[in-house]
Amino acid sequence: MKIVLQHLTKRFPNRNKKIKEDVIAVNDFDFEIPDGKLIGLLGPSGCGKSTALNLICGLEKPTSGRIFFGDVDVTDLSPEHRGVGLVFQNYALYPHLTVRENIRFPLENLRGDKKLSKEVMEEKVLEAAKLVQIQELLDRKPNEMSGGQQQRVAIARALVKRPQVLLLDEPLSNLDARLRLQTREELKRIQLETGITTVFVTHDQEEAMSISDMIVVMKDGVLQQKGKPQDIYDEPENLFVASFLGTPQINVFKGKISGEKVFIGDAAVMDAKGIADKDVFVAVRPEGFVIDDNGSLECDFIAREVMGRDTSFIASHPSFVGENIRAIIPSEEVFDGKNRKVRFRLKPHKVRVFDGITNERIRL
């Protein structure tokens, strides 16, 4: 089931009653989520991504705009009539019910012609439990399980009615680092196995990058960019997207374009054919630095962190925005650290230039 959002806007009255102006949580969202894909809604906290999810789910009503599931306009439908499954950030498993009763709960709500017999219910519960691999935990209570197991139960409960759309609110944020890795792969597997269109919200770019078929990046209620993870990483449309995606973060320098060349400080680092002179931000991915004694960018060397395969070079530069430059260099690269200086050459395809005022991408 594809999901179409048409000019979706959600305003909330300001909490601070003195301010008359509304808070715009979601501002003119207009995009299509293709059928059967795993979509990551990515953005920093408070950017409106959970509101966007609640709008799709129906727990919130949009101020304006329409939502379609397939060709059906569901904007005015309440959540129970939309056929969505929702997984909450802290799972919302009913603590007094066993895992089996939790998963069965949505089935027991079916009325009229849809009413199921006990046997069919049990069958469906087992099927869902099998899908998330918790068959042996069915008689436990939620508080007798680990976070990862609870998460699986929550997913099973959301899936047991075979919803058209599965929505997950920060599904991995309550798990520890190792479980998170494991669970996100699990999530991908479950999505592939069921083929249900799945939207999940996250503030963790790595999480979104690793499993999504498509990422939607948001900031302050405004859609910044959408597309395949690698495309967004390689071709960010503005400085925010560039710095939000990727670990370690992209290195941003203040620079300028002058005489069709890109400068960081006095160093000309790239050509900029046909672009008028202006102030810019030069953003370099950590893997975009090459140590080269003839390189144009001279930085003050601070430290070197060897991490097996790669080495992190920490350096500083007067034009750098933020704390320290972090460059990732293959470990076999030789560097003696004399004079406490290091010279870099930049790989052009790892450097992105953004307008100094609008922060929009300047394509060179």
């Binding site: 789910c57 129906g58 727990l59 309440s78 959540p79 129970e80 009539h81 969505v84 499954g85 929702l86 909450f88 802290n90 919302a92 009913y94 603590p95 007094h96 019910l97 709960f105 949505p106 027991e108 709500n109 079916l110 009325r111 508080n143 409960r157 009615k161």
Partner: protein, 296 residues
Amino acid sequence: MKKNVTAWLCLLPAILFLGIFMVYPLVDVFIYSLEEGYNFASQSYQGTGLYNYSYVLHDPYFIQALKNTFIIVIITVPLSTGIALLISLELSSIKVLRDFFQTVYFLPYVTNTLAVGLVFMILFKKTAYSDGLVSLLIQLFGGPSVDFIDGPYPAKMFVMCFYTIWIVMPFKILILTSALASVNPMYYKAAIVDDTPKWRIFYKITLPMISPMVFYLVITGFIGAFKAYSDEVALFGTDLNAAGMNTIVGYVYDMLYGNSGGYPSYASAAALILFAIVFTITTINLMVSKKTVYYQ
């Protein structure tokens, strides 16, 4: 060793206090209840045995008090808890004027029992000048004139239960509204997404979540109702035996200080019978709760 001494020293005030005001009287009551033919004036008794219990259990006044107490317990505890739950549910679902209604429902709690009794008199008592407001209303709809205070037993019991429920309700509403507020709204959202009917949300989610509080109210409600006395006095005056509205605690009081009083042995026996009843009921409650109450 030194640690032990410090611990006992710290416990001493509490032990003394509880010993003098709780343990000693309890033991004393037990002893009194076994002393036959106790004489107040000479502080002497003729023998020991279970005669006091036998006397109390055969005393028609005690039987009447026992009957009254049980009726009050059986009617008021479930009704007051149930109605309080309904009101609390309504209170937590409304948005406008919620604080106002909460205050209104809480008012009886801060009002003096005897003052409330006076208001009930005006509502229900038949005097030379008026039949009482409620009776007048009944007559307006073609019913007979009923004297709720000095009239037939069912009418008196009705007022008694009505009054008790009204008095105990505010506290229950207070406890239940805060219990309801402590249920994480996320559970309701999850239930709504799963198309759960309202009654089922209440029965399957809300009720189990607040069950410890409901249970607490039922237990304290039972104990409180078994100890009913002051409310009866507020409505029917001090001569409860004459009104036929005495309770067990009232009987104990009468045996000690009433017009026909001066029998601490009978009073002690009655008090211990009450204790046995409350103990039994509470034990049953606890056993039932093990299966039905969910603790997080």
